[in-house]
């Protein structure tokens, strides 16, 4: 596979490519960032990236949104990924909400939302 082939392929699958890119960025933010709120945002970015990927799977060139018009024969996109992602979005929001409430409580207890700082505080205290 030559480099032009690769680029062409990436162009064809550009949604997938960018979704993976965003996934990695979100993953990175989530894993390495010390700020807990940033972690949560990173998590959201990662999740939306997967959702983008998922929705892109269902797309068909020239397809319409799957709101049916009785009697008309249109080409519709695949509705299943959209339906699944609807669930996914709610899940992401739920986790965000819960994570944020945890952060608020953590801030009350530790006075900081920096992961390393918290580790330092814990290390100095519990052991």
């Amino acid at each position: 596979m030559s480099i032009t082939d690769v680029l062409l392929r990436l162009h064809q699958n550009n949604f997938y490519f960018f979704a993976i890119l965003l996934f990695i960025i979100g993953f990175h933010t989530m894993l390495t960032h010390n700020n807990l709120i940033k972690k949560v945002i990173g998590m959201n970015i990662m999740d939306t990236a997967i959702f983008l990927f998922f929705v892109a799977i269902g797309y068909i060139h020239g397809g319409r949104a799957p709101i049916l018009e009785p009697g008309a024969a249109h080409l519709y996109v695949n509705p299943l990924p959209s339906a699944l992602i609807l669930t996914g979005i709610v899940v992401a929001v739920s986790i965000t909400a819960y994570a944020l409430s945890l952060i608020v409580k953590i801030y009350q207890h530790y006075g900081t939302i920096d992961a390393e700082e918290i580790m330092r505080l814990r290390g100095g205290e519990t052991l």
């Binding site: 949104a65 709101i67 009785p70 609807l86 979005i89 909400a97 944020l100 409430s101 608020v104």
Partner: protein, 147 residues
């Protein structure tokens, strides 16, 4: 001054937003949207209201107990409709097979159980958003008193 503008604007905007939310909920089976997005819009409007005035005003509109009931009842409606299908002789969450009237496709009242469930979900999501936001904000006041 700013506060006043905000209040006026939100007093005007909030009903429209809520109306739109209701529209999204009730037309879930006909147009884009549904219980989740509609519920979230209604919830967001309530939050906006609470932000523009204050928390007490918001809680006056929807008390804690009410939001608790709404939240649970949303889920219970969902599960209840599912269980109803069992009593009607179908499997859990059956719709057409359970004999729910499907109505005329395209009408507001169509889709059988879909309608009911969407309503339940909408109530639930709206209540959830409100509870969540209140409890996040309320905590602040509690701890402020505490400190």
């Amino acid at each position: 001054m700013e506060d006043l503008i905000l209040r006026y604007v939100s007093r005007i905007v909030v009903p429209f937003v809520q109306l739109y939310g209701l529209y999204v909920v009730f037309h879930g089976h006909l147009s884009p949207g549904g219980g989740f997005s509609g519920g979230a819009i209604i919830g967001a409007s309530m939050i906006l209201y609470a932000l523009a005035f204050n928390l007490a005003a918001g809680t006056k509109k929807i008390s804690h107990d009410l939001s608790l009931i709404l939240e649970s009842s949303g889920g219970l409606i969902y599960a209840g409709v599912g269980l109803l299908a069992i009593f009607l002789g179908a499997n859990f969450l059956g719709n057409m097979v359970a004999g729910f009237p499907l109505g005329t496709p395209g009408n507001l009242f169509s889709g059988g159980a879909i309608m009911l469930i969407t309503l339940g979900v909408g109530i639930k999501v709206a209540a959830t958003m409100i509870t969540l936001f209140y409890s996040l904000i309320e905590e602040e006041q509690a701890t402020d008193e505490h400190h």
